[in-house]
């Protein structure tokens, strides 16, 4: 392993589904000689792309889990995380971005900036990941990279600048003109491995000059030296221009845009050059940890290999040799045989086998330095755990994890399946924080929860394939919530004096809707009418009521409770009595506070050819959806809407049949909203029936 940290790149490749990011990764691995043959996703040779390591991914032609790999390009080490494109799996994307220093945003030159690109871009912004863009599929019919650059500016607000212009498009796509060196680049050989430099074709000279001027102009914002050179009309050296672009890109104030066709082996090598030249090394990025000894005060970490270790487990995988934990080291050096501490559990862990991953193959290594990504064997931990040197008490900032919105009952076919299912569920919930599982107390069923239909479907499939757990599934269930809609007073006395020690407690106050947040408790009791030592018990009593709402047993959210009076008894009052009094008070107030049911509303974005726009809007309208707007993109149209999750089951089939399979959609959680009266009545009816059948 090399030592110069400035020659290390940890990058992600993020994009909309089907933009060709797995194909691009495949080509990168080929040109960096990590693989010696190219197999395409959905290819005819049946081998599948190297990065799609899971069987299921090969079959579906999509990438589900991030596979980490590393390669070398012109004396630089590049660690790549291939990230999934479907919105259902965005936790994977989020995790990757959390540990990466830079990213390539892959866009399709025909489809342009699509809905998922917007989500991915928001995530990059959240984690301040500098990026360069690659406009892929320039060989496809309808390719228009300059339009995509315009969309990067308009739709995503990037200060996007072309670094290249294409030499021919669609079937005539031959190569690119590099606007920095002002040379034409062609890619010869069976797999485009030989880069041939030529003069710019005469027909493109004028356009190249104009675009270069735009590029130089945009870059000059980040370099006084470059501005000076422009003003003095000097020749602009490529390094001067690239330095300025790098400075802008690191601040996320400029997005250099490259283009080509990974599938046709065009212009992948210049993109790799840009990864080395423009994207940050671990030294360029400031990472922060939280000091648990000082109220989680942020602490800047140094990419110093001699400092104490701080590292983050960002992904777990279950392989044939046990649990594989993907790790990013932020500070210090992890050595085989060293001891580190898992901050969450406080357990000391010995570093056994240390490996570097290449898709589903691995290479043993002895040390892992700050800035690098590798994997550990045989360490029991959860995804998102921080490992540090003994004596440190730092944790990496927690990752943003959304709550699940959909659940499904899974029933194992037999005992063997039951055992395997438990193993699988245990693993999945450790790997993916948005995937949760529990046993329903009343029905005894195992319930899995996640971010969408496809998210859960994939886990059910994986249970079957990887763990041989034959399971059947119930109907998907929506994660409804209860809340209150008006202020209501309560004044409840809990009194029990039959046999044994008595119980006494009175709790008075009011509850009201809380706009932001799940629950807030405020104590305004004066004069000790509820003794201070029982206030915590009162709060606990209220909190315990939130898990199952009195209306229809859905979790309660958006409630503020203030207590302002009460009473106690010198002998009969206890924590238990006040908890019971709080429960009584909650039920008393809740009934008066006009409780209602909330349902998850999803942001649904459909991309459709214009001729089907009417039908698409119809399907949304029939599903209680609100159409926010439509965006015309030439022959395509994007319909943005908000639709209740309960109405979205089976939507992919409906959309396919009403648009001849030409439209696609993405869906993600947007907000919780009150259900209409008719739906509330329907839910109440179902609830009453279920209650009756249990009884």
């Amino acid at each position: 392993m090399k030592r110069e940290l400035d020659k290390v790149r940890n990058i992600g490749i993020s994009a909309h589904i089907d933009s060709g990011k797995t194909t691009l990764t495949e080509r990168i691995l080929f040109y960096t000689q990590r693989i010696h043959a190219i197999h395409d996703v959905k290819g005819k040779d049946g081998v599948g792309a190297t990065m799609d390591s899971m069987e299921l991914e090969k079959e579906r032609g999509i990438t589900i889990a991030s596979a980490a790999t590393y390669c070398e390009w012109k004396d630089h080490e590049i660690n790549i995380i291939d990230t999934p494109g479907h919105v259902d799996f965005t936790i994977e994307v989020e995790r990757s971005l959390r540990v990466l220093d830079g990213a390539i945003l892959v866009l399709c030159s025909v489809g342009g900036v699509q809905s998922q690109s917007i989500t991915v871009d928001q995530q990059m912004r959240r984690y301040k990941v500098p990026c360069i863009a690659f406009i892929n599929k320039c060989d496809r019919s309808g390719a228009n990279p300059m339009r995509v650059i315009g969309q990067l500016r308009d739709k995503l607000g990037h200060n996007a600048v072309a670094m290249q212009i294409p030499i021919g498009l669609e079937a005539d796509h031959e190569g690119v003109v590099d606007l920095v060196t002002m040379q034409a680049l062609y890619f010869d050989g069976e797999n485009g491995e030989t880069v041939r430099f030529e003069e710019i074709p005469a027909a493109l000279r004028d356009e190249a000059s104009v675009r270069r001027e735009e590029l130089v102009d945009a870059a000059s914002m980040f370099s006084d030296e470059l501005t000076e050179a422009i003003l003095e009309e000097q020749e602009i050296a490529p390094d001067l221009l690239l330095d300025a672009l790098r400075a802008g890109a690191l601040k996320r104030e400029i997005t250099p845009v490259f283009m080509g066709s990974a599938y046709k082996n065009k212009a992948v090598q210049p993109l790799l050059d840009a990864v080395n030249r423009i994207l940050p090394s671990p030294m360029d990025v400031v990472n922060e940890a939280l000091d648990l000894d000082h109220d989680e005060a942020p602490v800047s970490l140094k990419s110093d290999t001699t400092a104490p270790i701080v590292s983050l487990a960002f992904k777990l995988e279950d392989g044939p040799y046990g649990q594989l934990t993907y790790l990013r080291v932020y500070q210090g050096t992890i050595k085989k045989g060293d001891f580190v501490v898992n901050v969450r559990t406080g357990k000391k862990v010995k570093i056994g086998r240390l490996v570097r991953m290449h898709a589903n193959q691995m290479e043993d290594i002895d040390i892992l330095r700050a800035g690098y990504i590798g994997a550990l064997f045989g360490v029991d931990c959860a995804s998102g755990d921080t490992f540090v040197s003994p004596g440190l008490n730092l944790t990496m900032t927690s990752m943003f994890v959304p709550n699940p919105v959909i659940s499904l009952a899974v029933v194992p076919k037999d005992n063997k399946a039951q055992v395997n299912m438990s193993k699988a569920l245990n693993r999945f919930s450790k790997e993916d924080p948005t995937f949760r599982t529990y046993v329903d107390d009343e029905t005894g069923e195992t319930i899995i929860e996640g971010m969408g239909e496809l998210h859960l479907e994939v886990y059910v499939e994986r249970m079957k394939r990887e763990y041989s757990a034959e399971v059947s599934t119930g109907q998907p269930r929506v994660a409804y919530r209860e809340t209150i809609t008006r202020r209501a007073e309560f004044n409840y006395t809990h009194k029990k004096q039959t046999g044994g020690a008595g119980q006494y407690g009175r709790v008075a106050g009011f509850m009201e809707p809380l706009a932001d947040g799940d629950f807030e408790f405020e104590n305004k009791v004066v004069g000790g009418s509820i003794p201070t030592q029982f206030i915590a018990a009162v709060e606990k009593g209220f909190r315990n009521c939130l898990a199952k709402g009195p209306k229809m047993e859905y979790p309660v959210t958006g409630v503020k409770i203030q207590i302002n009076d009460g009473a106690s008894h010198a002998v009969d009052s206890s924590e238990m009595a006040f908890q019971a009094a709080a429960r009584g008070a909650f039920h008393e107030g809740y009934g008066r506070a006009k409780p209602t049911i909330l349902e998850p509303i999803m942001k649904v974005v459909v991309e459709t050819p214009t001729e089907f726009q009417g039908q698409v809007m119809g399907t949304i309208n029939q599903r209680r959806g609100i159409i926010l707007g439509t965006q015309d993109e030439g022959n395509m149209c994007v319909v943005e809407s908000q639709v209740p999750l309960a109405e979205m089951f089976g939507y992919s089939t409906v959309l396919r049949s009403s648009t001849q399979g030409k439209a696609q959609f993405t869906m993600e959680f947007a907000l919780y909203k009150q259900v209409p009266q008719s739906v509330a009545e329907e839910l109440e009816k179902k609830y009453a029936e279920a209650k009756k059948s249990v009884a």
Partner: protein
């Protein structure tokens, strides 16, 4: 209740005649100003005022994406609610949202026949039947002036009234009738023309054509921090 409060307090009403709408169905209005002075924010306020009165508003945006337009509405409503200390803004937002539909077009992709086709689809399926149409960002150059007549026919057929935003240029002197050059020859197509005029730190809203012009009109301004319309202090 909340809605009524906001409607009553909206200074935009002052510009109106006997009715709440400045222009009748089938009529056209224009907001004219230089770039960056506040045309879109005034249009969005006109839209919000209509939405609060349960009128369906179709907002056509030329070149700005749906997300950006949506943000305009969200922020303007928030500012409006803040100014009048109206609580429960989320609830209000949810209530007015179904009254708005945004269509974003690229300038070259926008045409009146295309718009008519879209509108007919929306009406046929009973998805949306706009009473107010806003067209924001359409450059009124020579080749597009003819569109005004087509839009007017569409508005009459569909019983909507239409508001345009029109960009004027700093370097151009007004025409002899005092109207911006962009309106030369087409001013008669508009029932109301409002001009946004920056003077020092203030932006004044002046009616160049409409029910109350000249001395008769009240002094209205755009608050430079929120871009909300207000009576001059």
């Amino acid at each position: 209740m909340l809605k009524n409060e906001l409607i009553m307090r909206n200074p935009l009403r002052i510009l109106g005649n006997d009715t709440d709408d400045l222009i009748p169905a089938g009529g056209c209005g224009a907001v004219v100003s230089r770039a960056g002075v506040g045309k879109t924010s005034l249009l969005v306020q006109i839209a919000l005022n209509s939405m609060l009165r349960d009128q369906q508003v179709l907002h056509i945006s030329i070149d700005d994406p749906v997300r950006k337009v949506n943000l305009w509405y969200k922020e303007m409503l928030q500012d409006l609610a803040d100014r009048y200390q109206v609580q429960q803004i989320n609830e209000l937002w949810e209530r007015v949202l179904p009254y708005r539909f945004i269509m974003a077009f690229h300038v070259d992709g926008f045409s009146v026949p295309r718009l008519r086709e879209r509108l007919e689809e929306l009406r046929e399926q009973d998805i949306f039947t706009p009473q107010v149409l806003l067209i924001d960002g359409l450059p009124l150059d020579d080749e597009r002036r003819e569109m005004l007549a087509e839009v007017k026919v569409l508005a009459t057929d569909m019983r909507m009234h239409v508001w345009f935003s029109i960009l004027s240029h700093r370097h151009e002197e007004p025409a002899a009738d005092g109207l911006p050059l962009q309106l030369a020859g087409v001013a008669d197509r508009f029932d109301v023309i409002l001009q946004l005029q920056p003077e020092g730190k203030d932006i004044f809203v002046r009616a160049l054509k409409g029910p109350r012009t000249g001395e008769a009109q009240p002094t209205l301004q755009l608050d430079p921090t929120t871009m909300l319309i207000k009576t001059a202090s």
